[in-house]
Symmetry: C2
Subunit: 362 residues, 2 copies
């Protein structure tokens, strides 16, 4: 399996030119490219370039708006309800996160909820914006139903991610960015393509029973909430998925739960609900970043259960991937991804993705 290296700036530029070619406003194309590139740099390839064609298609078909800006519908000094006006998720996300940070500077916290939004890439991109201001950031979104509640056999919840970021000293930080399902759909698909079985606790069949057969999970079954089956605490993951829905669809008045359009079916607008929060640690006890640094190093320095498999803090695996990309001098993609993306490029009439001058043996 050979991989191809692409300069980060070229990935950025490629996404921008594809999106602009289908009529996306320049600043919106840039916002989307920023999030997708960050997804890839952090190693979340299912939320990066890989997913660009979905956004291209949604702009092309007019199911997602290519112009305009989000609107504040209602606000207090600490909260706001935003109409995302069916714009690209990152446009809505950036607008809301900026507003959350502004309010947190003034009154210690900003809690912003958006309706009328679209897929926004990795949740961590938004929570991490707060780090630049030495604040805690949070981001939540509801998504198309893929998760089967405990005791049920039908998907009613999305992977509904939770992201919380908090600053430590010297640019170090804590970045939790997790789906409330046990794993992402992409992981199941990968095992299925390889013909591998999946661990028990990732998904269930159409009868709601845990299954190790990825085929059954993908055809009529679904993902299970973090915690797996009821005996191992799956009802907690189910509860967390609903909590995200309370912060998003319930407060936003957007679509929610089973009412959200089916994953990959883009016959109608997504109208997702999203929630963005910034909290200013200066309004609480002094020394926040010192304590964060201690909390992180305390955990990183724990003696590992298995030699050579170090304990990691949330955000550390992503940091490792970013370092790898920097060492390589670009982002590595599978050749099939490059080929597929260049098919998209041809269809929208822009120049292809230009790989750097070398292949990488995986």
């Amino acid at each position: 399996m050979s991989r191809c290296l692409v300069l980060q700036s070229e990935v950025q530029s490629f996404i921008e030119r594809c999106m602009i070619a289908v009529g996306t406003k320049v600043s919106h194309a840039r916002a989307l490219a920023d999030v997708l590139v960050e997804g890839d740099r952090r190693g979340h390839y299912s939320h990066g370039l890989n997913r660009m064609d979905m956004y291209v298609k949604e702009i092309q078909t007019g199911i997602c708006s290519k112009d305009g800006e989000p609107i504040i519908e209602k606000e207090t000094v600490a909260t706001a309800l935003v109409d995302g006006c069916n714009l690209l998720g990152p446009v809505v996300g950036n607008f809301c996160m900026d507003l959350a940070i502004k309010k947190a500077k003034e009154v210690g916290i900003g809690w912003i909820v958006a309706r009328g939004s679209n897929h926004y890439g990795i949740a961590g991109y938004y929570s991490m914006q707060a780090l630049k201001e030495d604040m805690i950031g949070m981001s939540y979104t509801n998504t198309s139903p893929l998760v089967v509640p405990t005791r049920a056999k039908e998907c009613t919840l999305g992977t509904n991610p939770i992201s919380v970021a908090a600053p430590a000293n010297d640019g170090d930080n804590f970045v939790l960015d997790m789906a409330t399902s046990a794993v992402a759909l992409g992981k199941i698909e990968l095992h299925h393509r390889r013909g591998d079985i999946i661990p028990e606790g990732w998904g269930c069949d159409s009868g709601g029973k845990l299954s190790t057969d990825p085929g059954k999970v993908l055809s009529g079954g679904g993902l299970v909430p973090i915690g797996g089956c009821e005996a191992t605490g799956g009802y907690k993951g189910f509860g967390l998925g609903l909590m995200v829905e309370v912060f998003c669809g319930m407060l936003a008045g957007s679509q929610y739960s089973r009412h959200i359009r089916t994953w990959k079916f883009t016959e109608r607008t997504a109208d997702l609900g999203q929630c963005f929060v910034a909290i200013n640690p200066e309004c609480f006890a002094p020394g926040f970043k010192d304590r964060m640094s201690d909390l992180l190093s305390l955990h990183r320095n724990l003696e590992p259960a298995e030699l050579g498999v170090p304990v990691m803090a949330p955000g550390d695996p992503e940091r490792k991937n970013i370092r790898k990309c920097e060492d390589l001098g670009g982002i590595p993609y599978h050749i099939n991804v490059i080929d597929h993306m260049n098919g998209v490029a041809r269809s929208v009439g822009v120049s292809p993705l230009l790989p750097a001058n070398r292949l990488i043996a995986n």
Copy 2:
């Protein structure tokens, strides 16, 4: 195994008289009794009367303060840092939650963090206070280390609970109240006493390996985060436990993580960090309670995977237990609990717990 029925008002009065006998301020004794009785009514017996002797001991030894009131150290219109002054957890919790609700009425949200607090009983007690005002409530606390992080073999995190409550129509509601460990310590202890093995994914041995032997978990091992081992997403539960620490110990400047005193060792003050939030849905999209009712009934009415085992929303198991107590006309306790509590009553010189006039089979 026979159980004894006690009137709810008698449990309340018993806890109050025991606490007052050791010098607790009357209003504080009442606040504690309210929370413990609610724990039992909701079926969380490990956080009810069962734990009263811990509070009695802490007041007796002076490790927890018996008089005074919490102090606001710092505040904005939407946030506050509170010094709990080492008072009983429920006294601190009520003070903070009232403050959160007051701020949420004024500016849509109140985010309150307390340091210098103590065990506060069930987290859900505080989040549920917001329901009375048709608001969303949240409550978080750090606790003594009992949970082993993914890849580690040492306990560095408490069971760090998350509670989120949200109102629906006609008094119905959503109440998530969960530890970020797969299960509570009490469940492991119960299996150990019975000589049963535990399901894989509840705890680990002293080497950090998942174990089905409750003895190993209790002697040198520990609880594991929700999600179990790394392959099934245990790192997500670990991340959620740390998230609670960010909201509590990090913002509060209290003790945190491994620095918190060992569970059941009360040689020094607890100095716990806690976080209380109220959010006013009126500052967001209209129709919040209608959507909540739809979300709840949508899930309750799902076809169950197993006939006769209905899908439940967070808070439903507790509702069932409350109804059971109401049908019985009191709270059922195991005879050993009554005996033990009456030992405490004798030692502090108050009249014993008076059971109602009947025994209950199981």
